[in-house]
Protein backbone atom coordinates (compact mmCIF):
# COMPACT_ATOMS: atom_id res chain seq x y z
CA UNK A 1 0.00 0.00 0.00
CA UNK A 2 1.48 3.37 -0.94
CA UNK A 3 0.84 6.78 0.64
CA UNK A 4 -1.80 7.62 -2.00
CA UNK A 5 -3.89 4.64 -0.93
CA UNK A 6 -4.02 5.96 2.64
CA UNK A 7 -6.06 9.04 1.63
CA UNK A 8 -9.84 8.60 1.70
CA UNK A 9 -11.80 8.80 -1.52
CA UNK A 10 -12.73 12.23 -2.84
CA UNK A 11 -16.31 13.22 -3.70
CA UNK A 12 -15.48 12.80 -7.40
CA UNK A 13 -14.12 9.31 -6.81
CA UNK A 14 -17.24 8.38 -4.85
CA UNK A 15 -19.40 9.61 -7.73
CA UNK A 16 -17.30 7.71 -10.21
CA UNK A 17 -17.80 4.55 -8.18
CA UNK A 18 -21.56 5.13 -8.11
CA UNK A 19 -21.64 5.48 -11.88
CA UNK A 20 -19.50 2.35 -12.33
CA UNK A 21 -16.61 4.24 -13.87
CA UNK A 22 -14.11 4.04 -11.02
CA UNK A 23 -10.38 3.69 -11.44
CA UNK A 24 -8.26 0.72 -10.21
CA UNK A 25 -6.97 2.97 -7.38
CA UNK A 26 -10.55 3.47 -6.11
CA UNK A 27 -11.26 -0.24 -6.23
CA UNK A 28 -8.03 -1.15 -4.46
CA UNK A 29 -8.62 1.57 -1.85
CA UNK A 30 -12.12 0.28 -1.13
CA UNK A 31 -10.66 -3.15 -0.49
CA UNK A 32 -8.46 -1.79 2.28
CA UNK A 33 -10.42 1.15 3.79
CA UNK A 34 -13.51 0.16 5.82
CA UNK A 35 -14.53 3.83 6.32
CA UNK A 36 -14.77 4.50 2.58
CA UNK A 37 -16.32 1.08 1.93
CA UNK A 38 -19.13 1.79 4.40
CA UNK A 39 -19.71 5.25 2.93
CA UNK A 40 -19.76 3.96 -0.63
CA UNK A 41 -22.18 1.20 0.26
CA UNK A 42 -24.52 3.63 2.04
CA UNK A 43 -24.30 6.07 -0.87
CA UNK A 44 -25.00 3.33 -3.38
CA UNK A 45 -28.08 2.21 -1.42
CA UNK A 46 -29.32 5.80 -1.22
CA UNK A 47 -28.77 6.46 -4.91
CA UNK A 48 -30.55 3.23 -5.83
CA UNK A 49 -33.49 4.17 -3.59
CA UNK A 50 -33.66 7.68 -5.06
CA UNK A 51 -33.73 6.24 -8.57
CA UNK A 52 -36.85 4.22 -7.71
CA UNK A 53 -38.87 7.29 -6.68
CA UNK A 54 -41.67 7.70 -9.21
CA UNK A 55 -42.65 10.74 -11.22
CA UNK A 56 -45.83 12.37 -10.01
CA UNK A 57 -48.74 12.69 -12.40
CA UNK A 58 -50.21 16.11 -13.03
CA UNK A 59 -54.03 16.31 -13.33
CA UNK A 60 -55.52 14.52 -16.34
CA UNK A 61 -56.66 17.76 -17.95
CA UNK A 62 -53.26 19.43 -17.49
CA UNK A 63 -52.47 19.47 -21.22
CA UNK A 64 -55.80 21.14 -22.08
CA UNK A 65 -55.47 23.62 -19.23
CA UNK A 66 -52.01 24.67 -20.38
CA UNK A 67 -53.09 25.10 -24.00
CA UNK A 68 -56.16 27.13 -23.07
CA UNK A 69 -54.20 29.33 -20.66
CA UNK A 70 -51.33 29.76 -23.15
CA UNK A 71 -53.65 30.79 -25.99
CA UNK A 72 -55.52 33.14 -23.66
CA UNK A 73 -52.23 34.71 -22.54
CA UNK A 74 -51.12 35.10 -26.17
CA UNK A 75 -54.39 36.69 -27.29
CA UNK A 76 -54.43 39.01 -24.29
CA UNK A 77 -50.86 40.02 -25.01
CA UNK A 78 -51.67 40.66 -28.67
CA UNK A 79 -54.69 42.80 -27.81
CA UNK A 80 -53.00 44.85 -25.11
CA UNK A 81 -53.03 48.60 -25.92
CA UNK A 82 -50.69 50.63 -23.74
CA UNK A 83 -51.96 53.98 -22.35
CA UNK A 84 -49.40 55.76 -24.51
CA UNK A 85 -50.65 54.03 -27.65
CA UNK A 86 -54.25 54.70 -26.65
CA UNK A 87 -53.51 58.43 -26.19
CA UNK A 88 -51.66 58.63 -29.50
CA UNK A 89 -54.49 57.01 -31.48
CA UNK A 90 -56.88 60.03 -31.76
CA UNK A 91 -53.99 62.36 -32.59
CA UNK A 92 -52.73 60.07 -35.34
CA UNK A 93 -56.25 59.67 -36.71
CA UNK A 94 -56.82 63.47 -36.75
CA UNK A 95 -53.50 64.08 -38.51
CA UNK A 96 -54.36 61.41 -41.09
CA UNK A 97 -57.79 62.92 -41.78
CA UNK A 98 -56.38 66.48 -42.08
CA UNK A 99 -53.58 65.33 -44.41
CA UNK A 100 -56.01 63.31 -46.54
CA UNK A 101 -58.53 66.13 -46.74
CA UNK A 102 -55.82 68.65 -47.70
CA UNK A 103 -54.50 66.41 -50.46
CA UNK A 104 -57.99 65.73 -51.76
CA UNK A 105 -58.80 69.48 -51.79
CA UNK A 106 -55.53 70.20 -53.60
CA UNK A 107 -56.23 67.61 -56.28
CA UNK A 108 -59.80 68.85 -56.67
CA UNK A 109 -58.64 72.44 -57.11
CA UNK A 110 -55.88 71.46 -59.57
CA UNK A 111 -58.40 69.48 -61.61
CA UNK A 112 -60.76 72.45 -61.71
CA UNK A 113 -58.00 74.97 -62.55
CA UNK A 114 -55.30 73.11 -64.52
CA UNK A 115 -53.78 76.22 -66.13
CA UNK A 116 -53.32 77.98 -62.80
CA UNK A 117 -51.93 74.84 -61.21
CA UNK A 118 -49.26 74.47 -63.92
CA UNK A 119 -48.40 78.16 -63.87
CA UNK A 120 -47.90 78.14 -60.10
CA UNK A 121 -46.15 74.85 -59.73
CA UNK A 122 -43.75 74.92 -62.73
CA UNK A 123 -41.30 77.49 -61.27
CA UNK A 124 -41.36 75.68 -57.94
CA UNK A 125 -40.53 72.35 -59.59
CA UNK A 126 -37.82 73.97 -61.69
CA UNK A 127 -36.23 75.63 -58.65
CA UNK A 128 -36.40 72.45 -56.63
CA UNK A 129 -34.78 70.42 -59.40
CA UNK A 130 -32.06 73.00 -59.85
CA UNK A 131 -31.37 73.08 -56.12
CA UNK A 132 -31.13 69.28 -55.99
CA UNK A 133 -28.73 69.21 -58.94
CA UNK A 134 -26.51 71.87 -57.29
CA UNK A 135 -26.54 69.93 -54.02
CA UNK A 136 -25.50 66.76 -55.80
CA UNK A 137 -22.63 68.53 -57.57
CA UNK A 138 -21.47 70.10 -54.31
CA UNK A 139 -21.55 66.73 -52.54
CA UNK A 140 -19.56 65.07 -55.35
CA UNK A 141 -16.96 67.85 -55.38
CA UNK A 142 -16.64 67.70 -51.64
CA UNK A 143 -16.23 63.90 -51.66
CA UNK A 144 -13.53 63.90 -54.34
CA UNK A 145 -11.57 66.51 -52.38
CA UNK A 146 -11.39 64.27 -49.28
CA UNK A 147 -8.06 62.51 -48.50
CA UNK A 148 -9.76 59.06 -48.33
CA UNK A 149 -11.26 59.35 -51.81
CA UNK A 150 -8.07 58.55 -53.80
CA UNK A 151 -7.28 55.22 -52.07
CA UNK A 152 -10.89 54.10 -52.48
CA UNK A 153 -10.92 55.12 -56.16
CA UNK A 154 -7.62 53.26 -56.74
CA UNK A 155 -8.82 50.15 -54.99
CA UNK A 156 -12.14 50.13 -56.81
CA UNK A 157 -10.29 50.55 -60.11
CA UNK A 158 -8.85 47.02 -59.70
CA UNK A 159 -11.51 44.29 -60.01
CA UNK A 160 -9.77 41.94 -57.53
CA UNK A 161 -9.57 44.63 -54.89
CA UNK A 162 -13.17 45.57 -55.54
CA UNK A 163 -14.18 41.95 -55.07
CA UNK A 164 -12.18 41.67 -51.83
CA UNK A 165 -13.70 44.89 -50.55
CA UNK A 166 -17.17 43.66 -51.41
CA UNK A 167 -16.62 40.29 -49.68
CA UNK A 168 -15.12 41.99 -46.63
CA UNK A 169 -17.99 44.44 -46.43
CA UNK A 170 -20.62 41.72 -46.86
CA UNK A 171 -18.91 39.61 -44.19
CA UNK A 172 -18.80 42.50 -41.72
CA UNK A 173 -22.47 43.22 -42.45
CA UNK A 174 -23.43 39.56 -41.92
CA UNK A 175 -21.51 39.39 -38.62
CA UNK A 176 -23.10 42.60 -37.38
CA UNK A 177 -26.56 41.44 -38.45
CA UNK A 178 -26.15 38.03 -36.78
CA UNK A 179 -24.94 39.67 -33.59
CA UNK A 180 -27.86 42.05 -33.61
CA UNK A 181 -30.38 39.26 -34.21
CA UNK A 182 -28.94 37.23 -31.33
CA UNK A 183 -29.17 40.23 -29.07
CA UNK A 184 -32.79 40.77 -30.06
CA UNK A 185 -33.66 37.08 -29.68
CA UNK A 186 -33.00 36.86 -25.93
CA UNK A 187 -35.09 34.05 -24.42
CA UNK A 188 -37.63 34.50 -21.65
CA UNK A 189 -36.22 36.44 -18.72
CA UNK A 190 -36.71 33.46 -16.46
CA UNK A 191 -34.40 31.38 -18.57
CA UNK A 192 -31.50 33.61 -17.61
CA UNK A 193 -29.18 32.52 -20.39
Amino acid sequence: MNSHDLQHLTADELDAFLTESSSPRVLSHLGTCPTCAVMVEADARLVAALATLPYFNPPRDFEERVLVAASRAASVRASIITPRAAAARPRALTALVVAGASMAAGFAWATAHPADAIRWSAPAFQQTGHALWLSLQAAATNATAQPWFSPIRDSVAMPVRTLLLFIGGAGAYAIALTGFRRLMAEPATDAGW
Partner: protein, 202 residues
Protein backbone atom coordinates in the same frame (compact mmCIF):
# COMPACT_ATOMS: atom_id res chain seq x y z
CA UNK B 1 -44.07 20.77 -44.80
CA UNK B 2 -46.37 17.85 -43.94
CA UNK B 3 -47.85 17.42 -40.50
CA UNK B 4 -46.24 14.52 -38.56
CA UNK B 5 -48.50 11.74 -37.31
CA UNK B 6 -48.58 10.94 -33.57
CA UNK B 7 -46.02 8.17 -34.09
CA UNK B 8 -43.72 10.55 -35.98
CA UNK B 9 -44.00 13.17 -33.26
CA UNK B 10 -42.64 10.66 -30.76
CA UNK B 11 -39.66 9.97 -33.04
CA UNK B 12 -38.71 13.63 -33.42
CA UNK B 13 -36.03 15.24 -31.27
CA UNK B 14 -36.95 18.04 -28.90
CA UNK B 15 -35.32 20.53 -31.26
CA UNK B 16 -37.47 19.37 -34.18
CA UNK B 17 -40.66 19.51 -32.13
CA UNK B 18 -39.74 23.01 -30.97
CA UNK B 19 -39.22 24.06 -34.61
CA UNK B 20 -42.78 22.92 -35.38
CA UNK B 21 -44.07 24.63 -32.24
CA UNK B 22 -42.38 27.88 -33.27
CA UNK B 23 -44.47 27.77 -36.45
CA UNK B 24 -47.54 27.69 -34.24
CA UNK B 25 -48.47 24.03 -34.62
CA UNK B 26 -50.72 23.01 -31.76
CA UNK B 27 -49.79 19.34 -32.12
CA UNK B 28 -46.16 20.28 -31.43
CA UNK B 29 -47.21 22.14 -28.30
CA UNK B 30 -49.12 19.07 -27.17
CA UNK B 31 -46.08 16.86 -27.80
CA UNK B 32 -43.83 19.11 -25.71
CA UNK B 33 -46.37 19.12 -22.88
CA UNK B 34 -46.73 15.32 -23.07
CA UNK B 35 -42.95 14.87 -22.94
CA UNK B 36 -42.26 17.17 -20.04
CA UNK B 37 -45.41 17.43 -17.94
CA UNK B 38 -44.47 14.61 -15.53
CA UNK B 39 -40.80 15.50 -14.97
CA UNK B 40 -41.57 19.22 -14.68
CA UNK B 41 -44.54 18.68 -12.39
CA UNK B 42 -42.55 16.21 -10.26
CA UNK B 43 -39.61 18.60 -9.89
CA UNK B 44 -41.86 21.45 -8.82
CA UNK B 45 -43.99 19.24 -6.56
CA UNK B 46 -40.92 17.88 -4.79
CA UNK B 47 -39.62 21.43 -4.40
CA UNK B 48 -42.75 23.17 -3.09
CA UNK B 49 -44.49 20.09 -1.51
CA UNK B 50 -47.94 21.41 -2.29
CA UNK B 51 -49.94 19.75 -5.06
CA UNK B 52 -52.20 22.67 -5.97
CA UNK B 53 -49.31 25.10 -5.93
CA UNK B 54 -47.22 22.69 -8.00
CA UNK B 55 -50.02 22.44 -10.58
CA UNK B 56 -50.18 26.22 -10.86
CA UNK B 57 -46.42 26.61 -11.13
CA UNK B 58 -46.11 23.79 -13.68
CA UNK B 59 -48.85 25.40 -15.76
CA UNK B 60 -47.09 28.76 -15.46
CA UNK B 61 -43.84 27.13 -16.57
CA UNK B 62 -45.39 25.66 -19.71
CA UNK B 63 -47.18 28.91 -20.56
CA UNK B 64 -43.89 30.81 -20.32
CA UNK B 65 -42.13 28.21 -22.45
CA UNK B 66 -44.85 28.09 -25.13
CA UNK B 67 -45.17 31.86 -25.32
CA UNK B 68 -41.40 32.32 -25.56
CA UNK B 69 -40.80 29.39 -27.92
CA UNK B 70 -39.59 31.78 -30.65
CA UNK B 71 -36.73 32.90 -28.44
CA UNK B 72 -35.51 29.35 -27.68
CA UNK B 73 -31.93 28.90 -28.86
CA UNK B 74 -31.42 25.37 -30.29
CA UNK B 75 -27.76 25.26 -29.25
CA UNK B 76 -29.02 24.65 -25.69
CA UNK B 77 -30.89 21.53 -24.63
CA UNK B 78 -34.63 22.14 -24.47
CA UNK B 79 -34.81 20.12 -21.25
CA UNK B 80 -32.26 22.47 -19.62
CA UNK B 81 -34.36 25.47 -20.64
CA UNK B 82 -37.68 24.15 -19.35
CA UNK B 83 -36.18 22.76 -16.13
CA UNK B 84 -34.44 26.08 -15.53
CA UNK B 85 -37.74 27.94 -15.82
CA UNK B 86 -39.50 25.35 -13.62
CA UNK B 87 -36.79 25.42 -10.97
CA UNK B 88 -36.74 29.23 -10.92
CA UNK B 89 -40.51 29.28 -10.50
CA UNK B 90 -40.28 26.86 -7.57
CA UNK B 91 -37.37 28.70 -5.91
CA UNK B 92 -39.15 32.06 -6.31
CA UNK B 93 -42.24 30.58 -4.69
CA UNK B 94 -40.22 29.13 -1.82
CA UNK B 95 -38.59 32.50 -1.24
CA UNK B 96 -41.91 34.35 -1.39
CA UNK B 97 -43.70 32.05 1.02
CA UNK B 98 -40.78 31.02 3.14
CA UNK B 99 -41.43 27.33 2.48
CA UNK B 100 -37.87 26.26 3.05
CA UNK B 101 -38.54 22.86 4.46
CA UNK B 102 -41.92 21.20 4.64
CA UNK B 103 -43.34 18.11 6.15
CA UNK B 104 -44.76 15.33 4.07
CA UNK B 105 -48.12 15.83 5.74
CA UNK B 106 -49.39 18.65 3.59
CA UNK B 107 -48.83 22.34 3.28
CA UNK B 108 -48.71 24.37 6.52
CA UNK B 109 -51.04 26.80 4.75
CA UNK B 110 -53.74 24.14 4.49
CA UNK B 111 -56.32 24.80 7.19
CA UNK B 112 -59.07 22.26 6.40
CA UNK B 113 -58.87 18.44 6.17
CA UNK B 114 -59.65 18.66 2.45
CA UNK B 115 -56.82 21.13 1.91
CA UNK B 116 -54.42 18.95 3.92
CA UNK B 117 -55.43 15.94 1.81
CA UNK B 118 -55.00 17.95 -1.39
CA UNK B 119 -51.53 19.15 -0.43
CA UNK B 120 -50.20 15.85 0.89
CA UNK B 121 -47.42 14.28 -1.13
CA UNK B 122 -48.86 11.12 -2.72
CA UNK B 123 -46.24 8.42 -2.90
CA UNK B 124 -46.27 5.09 -4.66
CA UNK B 125 -48.19 4.02 -7.71
CA UNK B 126 -48.95 0.43 -8.71
CA UNK B 127 -46.84 -2.27 -7.06
CA UNK B 128 -46.73 -6.02 -7.37
CA UNK B 129 -47.78 -7.04 -3.88
CA UNK B 130 -49.26 -5.34 -0.88
CA UNK B 131 -46.20 -6.05 1.28
CA UNK B 132 -43.90 -4.71 -1.38
CA UNK B 133 -46.14 -1.70 -1.75
CA UNK B 134 -46.10 -0.99 1.98
CA UNK B 135 -42.31 -1.39 2.24
CA UNK B 136 -41.66 0.66 -0.85
CA UNK B 137 -44.16 3.29 0.20
CA UNK B 138 -42.56 3.55 3.62
CA UNK B 139 -39.05 3.93 2.24
CA UNK B 140 -40.29 6.33 -0.41
CA UNK B 141 -42.05 8.39 2.23
CA UNK B 142 -38.91 8.53 4.37
CA UNK B 143 -36.78 9.63 1.44
CA UNK B 144 -39.33 12.19 0.24
CA UNK B 145 -39.59 13.53 3.77
CA UNK B 146 -35.79 13.77 4.03
CA UNK B 147 -35.57 15.54 0.64
CA UNK B 148 -38.12 18.06 1.93
CA UNK B 149 -35.78 18.93 4.78
CA UNK B 150 -32.85 19.79 2.51
CA UNK B 151 -31.97 23.34 1.54
CA UNK B 152 -33.75 24.28 -1.73
CA UNK B 153 -30.47 24.30 -3.72
CA UNK B 154 -29.53 20.84 -2.45
CA UNK B 155 -33.07 19.67 -3.14
CA UNK B 156 -32.90 20.81 -6.80
CA UNK B 157 -29.52 19.15 -7.22
CA UNK B 158 -30.50 15.80 -5.72
CA UNK B 159 -33.80 15.65 -7.63
CA UNK B 160 -32.22 16.51 -10.97
CA UNK B 161 -29.25 14.19 -10.47
CA UNK B 162 -30.60 11.09 -8.77
CA UNK B 163 -34.34 11.08 -9.52
CA UNK B 164 -34.28 12.60 -13.02
CA UNK B 165 -30.82 11.23 -13.87
CA UNK B 166 -29.55 14.46 -15.43
CA UNK B 167 -25.79 14.78 -16.04
CA UNK B 168 -23.79 17.17 -13.87
CA UNK B 169 -23.16 19.54 -16.77
CA UNK B 170 -26.86 19.93 -17.49
CA UNK B 171 -27.64 20.49 -13.81
CA UNK B 172 -24.99 23.23 -13.73
CA UNK B 173 -26.66 24.81 -16.76
CA UNK B 174 -30.15 24.53 -15.25
CA UNK B 175 -29.16 25.99 -11.91
CA UNK B 176 -26.69 28.52 -13.32
CA UNK B 177 -23.96 27.25 -11.01
CA UNK B 178 -20.35 26.22 -11.64
CA UNK B 179 -19.88 22.48 -12.20
CA UNK B 180 -17.73 22.15 -9.07
CA UNK B 181 -20.43 23.76 -6.93
CA UNK B 182 -23.04 21.37 -8.30
CA UNK B 183 -20.84 18.37 -7.45
CA UNK B 184 -20.25 19.72 -3.96
CA UNK B 185 -23.98 20.35 -3.42
CA UNK B 186 -24.87 16.84 -4.57
CA UNK B 187 -22.22 15.29 -2.35
CA UNK B 188 -23.37 17.29 0.67
CA UNK B 189 -27.02 16.62 -0.09
CA UNK B 190 -26.36 12.87 -0.14
CA UNK B 191 -24.53 13.11 3.18
CA UNK B 192 -27.43 15.04 4.72
CA UNK B 193 -29.95 12.59 3.31
CA UNK B 194 -28.03 9.64 4.77
CA UNK B 195 -27.97 11.30 8.18
CA UNK B 196 -31.66 12.25 8.01
CA UNK B 197 -32.66 8.72 7.01
CA UNK B 198 -30.49 7.27 9.77
CA UNK B 199 -32.22 9.54 12.30
CA UNK B 200 -35.63 8.50 10.99
CA UNK B 201 -34.81 4.81 11.46
CA UNK B 202 -33.45 5.33 14.97
Amino acid sequence: MTHPTPVEWAALSDQDVVRHAARGREAAYRELIRRYQRPVFSLIYRMVRDRELAEDLAQETFIKVLNAIDSYRPEYKFSSWIFKIANNAAIDQLRRRGLDTLSLDGSPHASTPDAIEATTLQIGDSRESQLEEVTSRELGSQIESAIGKLRPEYRSCIILRHIDGRPYEEIAEILGLPLGTVKTYIHRARNELRILLQETRE
